[in-house]
Symmetry: D2
Subunit: 348 residues, 4 copies
């Protein structure tokens, strides 16, 4: 029995961890932390899990935390900079730590501090952290105790570009990702832009060229391609609960045909349980992955402009957050990677 | 290994049967029937199940159907009057039949013919059909070979009223159910009212006092209460994919307190895995049951008007259709009733 | 030129007043008040009105307010209890005041204080306040300086019941209104239930038997019928921006036929520009009134249960708030009642 | 009094023409054509206009059509290739014709026939047709009798790129437009992809590099820039009723600063009533133009990649179709261009 605890369980990513873990017979959730909702039953905040998971949230201090002694795995689903001390403490106690925040995704503390405007308190741990996209670095994940779980946008973009970049496919022109996210990507915080009346029936770009996921994506793309790779990244909010679609544009400098492109992606992903490469002429839709750990990828070559268009969709809360975190946990524990993640998508 | 076939698998109820059954290790889907989509892979019509269930739809003639020889259980998810011959044939071959249409829900062929404006072709089988709400008539379900799976609205209303009526609670005033359904309740047919642009951002009543679920509900309520029980039923379409909420109004002629009412419902449902009775002051929301086989029930007594308000929510495609059908199948096969139905609701 | 000021212009009702008034050539908006958004241009909070209305919000103290000297009409769109002093001051200065809060809707200060849990500071003005549904009390509205603008739910229900009750139609059974509102009815406040992810794809009843609009509705219904009239009122939140549908159930004790019922409603409303009585068999949809000052009413008689079902829809922000406020202003100023309110509904 | 007729008035663009024209005192709608809905009152298909416009649809033969003798202006809102004969006939009768289909947008009949797979029946009229974006070619519009009303996507993209291209701004890299449309852009046809349950809660690209608007856009962009200009155009369907957002990417080869870019756009559009250039750092949202004839444009320069990002939003049914058609009609008739188009956007 794997014993796990979840920090920051009152947000959507935390709640999704609970939903996905609670039904496993080989996992026990020992605690769900939230200072704001301490002593309130989890199922009062998330009534869908009434009678499924009724434990109370626990408040806690992250230093010398006795809760940590009771678990094997610690998930951190707090906003960035809020759980660094907890991560450090948990590592010292020998736990396996999976951090869903941005804190351990960048290798360079200075870059982190520039983009997140806060000093990193545990920068010495950055070197040991492994960026967790199993389809790309499965072996490293198996060996680490500190897993930096990728952001939602980055997951969709990196999986979309991986085969091309891994093959050394380069371009002198800027790669562009025009990405669209459902509103749950903005969390359950009380912000005007998250209100139903403000967010529904509209689509809007934001943080043009300045979104914090940019350095994370570029660092990973550069690591894959072996050279500095830049991306123009424009995120948008779309009026739906879940889902990310990244429409990625890259110059087709090697003049690949659509068939060649598809063959390449199938070669990379045919053994991957959670990546589905669509057939020629098909485009992905976020609905088809909703509720699942899948990433669907569609591919097109526009011969007139000689551009490659890669379209990648995920459920932002599952493959883009909690599902991938569990996939990583499975690997870190030597379990079958798909355990607890085989729920089919839900439609409609 | 239980071998099943599904007639009418191209609609939402059929697709939901596939989604729920395909992941079971003790069930094998032998065929999915659709004349309109014959030889098209299921996952072309339902791309969420790509690589999960890629079998092709089969066209078939329902008389002397050899497909039926290959299965133990036949699900019929066709519109009313379309599968009566198939049901007859399957019963003769010794299959267990679960019919999701309205064809075997009413005991009286004349009532059926009046409301559905078509002659019943297998009226001799009506007597043996069992109406399948396990929480109410579990034992009869175990013993039948012909299961009439309830309608979505009826399930929400009957479960909502069951404890009161079973206790002989009667009233001289009309019981009212103001019910609201998501658009999937209207199916995947190409109708103007089902279009996104017509159905979103609006709510509308329809079939006031004339919905075909009315005789089905009244027959069941009368059977429970032991006397003729009438219902004023007004369905509405609400702009959401899934979910039914029935807000039921009944005169509180025995002057029950809210605590007494809650105690009664808890007594009836505390052992029921799929019915959750909310606490005092709580109201149910369809989101909390979405993706699950739950029925959530909230209760209130308005002392000023002395009315009882029962609020009952289900996922119309699961507890209101395919989930309940599987729950019934489990009982008919002597399996644990919850097998394959323990997926937690999804939120948001 | 009519000069108007708006208190509480940062909320949806206030913004809708601006939208509807700004295009009139006979009206000038002198100030829009908001303490929270003082000195911020209106069109920064409401970007749809960029280049249409860019004035800044003004903070103000409501006693001896010099702003009030500059206007003829004061609209108060603040929450209840926030503008009573302003109303008093404005009346003393001779302004015509239209209050969209609940503060002057109830005749009895004690009832107000019981339901709103706050002492009324200007209870002496209650007697002079006129409840403003023009279709019902047009003449009184013309003569008042203090207009209590009705709530959104009450408008839909009272217009729905008015002809029946006015004709002395009584019943021994409880009248029920099962009402459904779009999310804008809950305002632009930062509340968890107003979040897109919490409010979309679900429908939920709330405040069963305890909504603050109940005494307001009952007082008006009793005034119309001439005897104490009670209502069981259950509001629901539906996942749409705008719109209210009230489905009203009343025993048909005089055995009216559907034709008689329609004839009665047509007699009352045929001259009313903003009330449309649907034809036999038609049901109203909130989309058909969205963006307009219309109230659409559908009628049905269920012969089996002998119930009358009245279905009434409005745009909660227009006929349910700001449109009706302007309709009332027009009457108070001796203008054509429809001035500035003839924009057709928008579909889809 | 201007007398107008509308062919194809049963679709959304036709209905929007009715809604916008019916309230004008200087315009009379003489007929609304639809063969499918002949003799059915318009307000039965569009109940929002009950009591506003109740005339019946008329069926008609387009040759020697006597209806045409009764009007000054003919709007054609039929699908492509369906009204070419009507256009020819109307021109011969001296009417001013505004065609909302694609039939007269391309100068070259061969290009038309290649993309629309049908022979053009009135290709001789292509030369006299004027492409109607008033902000770009106002004078030519005033002088024509045959107005080709632009597509929705093209309007958003061309207005977005116009100042840059007009200034001779060129690039060796491909210009990309990642465009997102609400579902009304797909019309009111009974197609599976238009169903609520299929279209809501998802976003999906389609027609990648092959959308029929591509040649139209490229022809106009080339005409503006004075040289062949290509565009990589990827449309998407977003789950909302109305609105188009085009996010346009173009290499910043002249190294414009954001301030310079804004100054350029303000210079071009400051006199334009229907184009609003946002301030630095602001991004447009489709909600802010919904229900209006506005085009909002946001601008950004990403210094890292040296890309310009132009974000352009319109209401696809108004500035993208019927509103712009009326704007063109006003110009063709010598009226104030804004007549009947000053309704403010609606929010929420």
């Amino acid at each position: 029995m794997v014993k796990v605890g979840i920090l920051g369980a009152s947000g959507y990513a935390g709640a999704e961890l609970v939903r996905l873990l609670v039904q496993r017979e080989d996992v026990e959730i020992i605690f769900v932390h939230s200072n704001n909702y301490a002593e309130i039953p989890f199922s009062k905040r998330y009534p869908h899990l009434k009678e499924v998971f009724d434990s109370e949230f626990s408040a806690m201090n992250f230093e010398n935390n006795e809760y940590f002694d009771q678990v094997d795995v610690l998930f951190c689903a707090l906003p960035h900079a809020k759980s660094q001390i907890a991560v450090k403490s948990a590592l010292e106690k020998g736990l396996k730590v999976i951090d869903l925040s941005a804190d351990f995704r960048l290798k360079d503390a200075e870059v982190y501090e520039e983009w997140y405007q806060t000093k990193h308190q545990v920068s010495e741990a950055l070197a040991q952290a492994v960026y967790g996209i199993p389809e790309i670095n499965r072996e490293a994940i198996k060996d680490t105790n500190l897993l930096a779980n990728p952001g939602c946008y980055p997951t969709s973009i990196i999986l979309g570009l991986y085969p091309l970049l891994k093959e050394g496919y380069t371009t002198n022109e800027t790669i562009i990702s025009d990405s669209k996210s459902g509103i749950s990507g903005a969390g359950r915080g009380l912000k005007d832009g998250n209100l139903f009346t403000q967010a529904t029936e509209t689509i809007q770009p934001y943080a043009v060229g300045s979104h914090r996921h940019t350095p994370e994506i570029e660092e990973q793309l550069s690591s894959i391609s072996g050279e500095k790779t830049s991306l123009m990244f424009v995120p948008h909010l779309a009026p739906m609960q879940r889902g990310i679609l990244s429409t990625i544009y890259i110059k087709n400098e090697r003049n690949l045909s659509e068939d060649q492109l598809l063959a390449l992606y199938n070669q990379y992903y045919e053994e991957e349980k959670f990546v589905r490469v669509l057939e020629k002429g098909e485009t992905p839709t976020t609905k088809a992955v909703s509720g699942s750990n899948y990433c669907d990828i569609g591919l097109a070559v526009d011969t007139q402009s000689n551009m490659i268009v890669i379209m990648s969709v995920i459920d932002n809360l599952i493959k883009g957050a909690s599902g991938q975190a569990i996939q990583n946990m499975n690997l870190m524990l030597g379990l079958d990677e798909t355990t607890g993640l085989t729920q089919a998508p839900i439609w409609p």
